[in-house]
Symmetry: C2
Subunit: 267 residues, 2 copies
Amino acid sequence: MDRLCIHTATTRPLSLDLALEVYAEAGVTGITVWRDALAGRDPQTAGRRIASAGLAPVSLCRGGFFVSPEEAVRKRAILDNETALREAAEIGAPLVVLVCGADTAVPLPAARDQIAAGIQSLLPLAEDLNVKLAIEPLHPMYADTRSAVNTMRSANDLCERIAHPMVGVAVDVYHLWWDPELESEIARCGDRVLAFHVCDWRSPTRDLLTDRGLMGEGCIPIRRIRSWVEATGFDGFIEVEIFSTEYWAQDQRSYVDRIVSAYREHV
Amino acid sequence: MDRLCIHTATTRPLSLDLALEVYAEAGVTGITVWRDALAGRDPQTAGRRIASAGLAPVSLCRGGFFVSPEEAVRKRAILDNETALREAAEIGAPLVVLVCGADTAVPLPAARDQIAAGIQSLLPLAEDLNVKLAIEPLHPMYADTRSAVNTMRSANDLCERIAHPMVGVAVDVYHLWWDPELESEIARCGDRVLAFHVCDWRSPTRDLLTDRGLMGEGCIPIRRIRSWVEATGFDGFIEVEIFSTEYWAQDQRSYVDRIVSAYREHV
């Protein structure tokens, strides 16, 4: 239990305060804060609430979205990522997770160039604040509008291109489980693994965005992937990130109990 | 126009006879026959109808589905693939396209072993009939139940493992467009490219199976991918394969005219 973290987006109907209460009662020890959960709040105060609830602020979700055909939009994205880095520092989180972005008007190779440039421009502030940046490769079904980085190989290539100790990777089983190269590319990633996200792939999947399953409900070999991640030396939190209209409609206290059981049994 | 082929599944509401009439009137010169369009018909008679309509039978779709935890099911799949090979020969098609299969109860590496074994067992009949087998890598979002082969690299690895002149690859832009390795893996494929399928990726995509777009309606760089395919020496048919509840609900004659225009403009 000392490694179990839940994303606020997993229990989206709960306010941050209620999430803290429910997670703590269930014995969860880490929280990843989505920026919508901070909306209208002072991040430092939120950080103190997290600490006094006894939870570790694992990361802030999410920065990124560096890709656009318009330079002005890309510049605004950088400013917004700088805000995210400051918010992360204020709540005490050591990491911002990046959904790197994609745009149907930008060819994928150019999109990857824009992503590299965007991350590079954030490095001085990331260093100043001591907040790392995790590139999260997203499932190829999101290559049109969410991320032009869709495999561990591609994320590793990007890390090596940027070559900076503040930049690493978030490994999410949902996006990557199908890849025959996953084991070798996680090994290649080494100590650049900064985060590990779990959930499951429902079969059939009824929606491209909001039909993720609880661990054990799908076909992802979560334990095997966890063993690959831990073979790199990673011993950080295991983060439950589930977007599900089905689960969001249920009682969130019982749902968190189910998450804890699924974590014990299938992760 | 002498390279334009349409899949019967693209105009699913049309019977084979009607499809032949509509395609021929629109100037389409090739047809890929899905097995449901042959149901209850004698394949040799269907082959004569195709020939007398002036269309080339480009391929039969689809064989495969080699993966199951049960040996009896795998054996039945082989028999069914043998039937597909015979049907292809009878309608005069030189190729059977393989959707290789996947099963949530079979880990992906084992699934790939079953696929290799399944294809190998078909080789003697494929040689006898002179009908080739095309491994079609499917988008990773189908890795749970449709195919454990989800990239060109994986399809190339499988071809090299089987190493037989009757086995190659079907390149479908819908499944592969997002892959940073696509250009180099198509080049690696070389003269193993046996088929080229086009459509487009709609953004947003509203359904995992039946929301493909007409060429030009989405974000796939079809012309660029076509240039990579043709750089291998491929000069066969360009096959329009679109599964779309939206288009199936429309008048199929006008739809075929739109396909012809989209082909001229965007392929």
